[in-house]
């Protein structure tokens, strides 16, 4: 599948009423106050929070802004038409330094963006090297959803490799808590490791590069049967963002 022609079907996870209630409580707002900010009636908000009415897409988008919710709270499913330079601008929108100059990118949940990228056969190498930044920067993203999706699409080797790199960056930074958390996600994928050889979103690799990578890749890449030479030393951008 080319970067410019993505037709993945992503399970749409909508925001729940309970999540709305938690966000309101965090702001110490009454339903009346929250309804005013959200532009709905208190009665309607009450029904939504109780689950007797669904959270509409419009209300979810308003709530993301009003409650200043993090990108990890964004509903899934908005990126199914992502293509062309969409990965770059969506990463820029999330704050990835390498594409920060691209303003106004599609607002995506980081877990969905990572999944879509991992499920792409041909990514710009600069996008591929940005991928470990996502789990490093958003360790609280929806891992359960992500792991199910990558297994369904046989992308677990790619994901484990990317997360392992992110963990290695955390370790190098002295952030053992984050490194441990990311390491546990990798462990969950160990039993479903695929034996087939794959690339890291680079199906167009020439035969010469494939031969060369088999003997020049890192042990981590070899373990996950990936033909890639991406390594921790290439991930300066992940360190840079921690101090910005």
């Amino acid at each position: 599948m080319s970067e410019g022609n993505i037709t993945n079907i992503v399970i749409i996870q909508k925001m729940t009423g309970e999540e709305l209630k938690i966000a309101r409580s965090a702001h110490h707002w009454t339903q009346v106050e929250a309804a005013k900010h959200l532009g709905v009636t208190q009665a309607y908000l009450s029904m939504v929070e109780r689950g007797s009415r669904p959270v509409s897409e419009e209300l979810a988008e308003t709530a993301l802004k009003v409650y200043a919710l993090p990108p990890t709270a964004r509903p899934m499913g908005h990126g199914k038409l992502l293509g062309g330079g969409g990965f770059q601008s969506a990463l820029g929108e999330l704050g990835y330094p390498g594409f920060a100059y691209l303003r106004g990118g599609l607002q995506l949940n980081p877990a969905e963006l990572l999944f879509l990228a991992l499920d792409t056969e041909e990514l710009d190498a600069r996008v591929t090297e940005a991928l470990p930044w996502i789990p490093f920067q958003f360790p609280e993203m929806d891992w359960e959803w992500l792991i199910v999706e990558v297994k369904l699409r046989d992308r677990q080797n790619r994901m484990a490799f990317v997360v392992q790199l992110a963990g290695a960056v955390a370790e190098a930074e002295g952030d053992s808590s984050r490194a441990g958390s990311l390491g546990s996600k990798v462990s969950k994928l160990e039993r479903s490791r695929l034996a087939m050889e794959d690339t890291l979103c680079k199906a167009s690799l020439s035969e010469a590069e494939r031969r060369w990578l088999r003997s020049h890749r890192t042990k981590t890449a070899a373990h996950w049967n990936l033909l890639t030479d991406l390594k921790v030393e290439d991930l300066k951008h992940v360190y840079e963002n921690t101090s910005s």
């Binding site: 330094p97 100059y101 591929t128 020439s206 590069e209 840079e240």
Partner: protein, 179 residues
């Protein structure tokens, strides 16, 4: 090759601000992804502008103070100059420089390395980005691979810390580009 009169945004505004800070003609010798995209037409962008030389040196400190990572122009435009100190470049590269966007700025002269020199500047690092850029140059210019190999032997190999290793990299590239 690019025939545009100036780079797109945000690069144009970035260089315009840099130009405003200069008070004499300043030459920036550029390599890397910025040149490959703006001069040789690859359709992707990069946040940093790799420069190997800013001349004269009296102007260099002032401009870098404004435009390196974390400095005011980076904060304003979200792109920055990156002074590349370690890349090995073919020895006579200056004779082959080409000006990008001539006349676009009052004092700034953005100079691009010749495509063979750009390619060879990536040999030691040789990561996926570099190989993709070299492959693009090889097909779009197109590169004469015998010239690439000859220039490697005559102008670059003797400068390298591990020439035996880079001989293997050059062989990989030639195989890759012949496919």
């Amino acid at each position: 090759m690019s025939t545009k009169t100036h780079p797109p945004e945000p690069w144009h505004s970035f260089f315009h601000d840099l130009d405003d800070a200069a008070d004499t003609v300043v030459r920036l010798d550029c390599i890397g992804g910025f040149v490959v995209t703006q001069m040789y037409g690859l359709e992707r962008s990069t946040a940093d502008i790799d420069v190997i030389e800013i001349a004269p040196r009296t102007a260099s400190d002032r401009l870098m103070d404004l435009a390196l990572q974390g400095r005011p122009l980076h904060k304003k435009h979200r792109i920055y100059l990156d002074r590349v100190a370690v890349a090995s470049i073919p020895e006579n590269y200056e004779d082959r420089l080409v000006e990008m966007f001539p006349g676009a700025y009052r004092y700034l002269r953005l100079m691009a390395l010749d495509p063979y020199d750009i390619a060879l500047s990536k040999l030691e690092r040789n990561n996926q980005k570099d190989r993709d850029d070299v492959r693009f140059l090889a097909h779009s210019i197109p590169l004469d691979l015998s010239v690439l190999e000859e220039r490697y032997k005559a102008e670059l190999r003797w400068q390298l810390g591990r020439p035996d290793r880079e001989d293997l990299t050059m062989r990989l590239w030639l195989e890759m580009l012949h496919e």
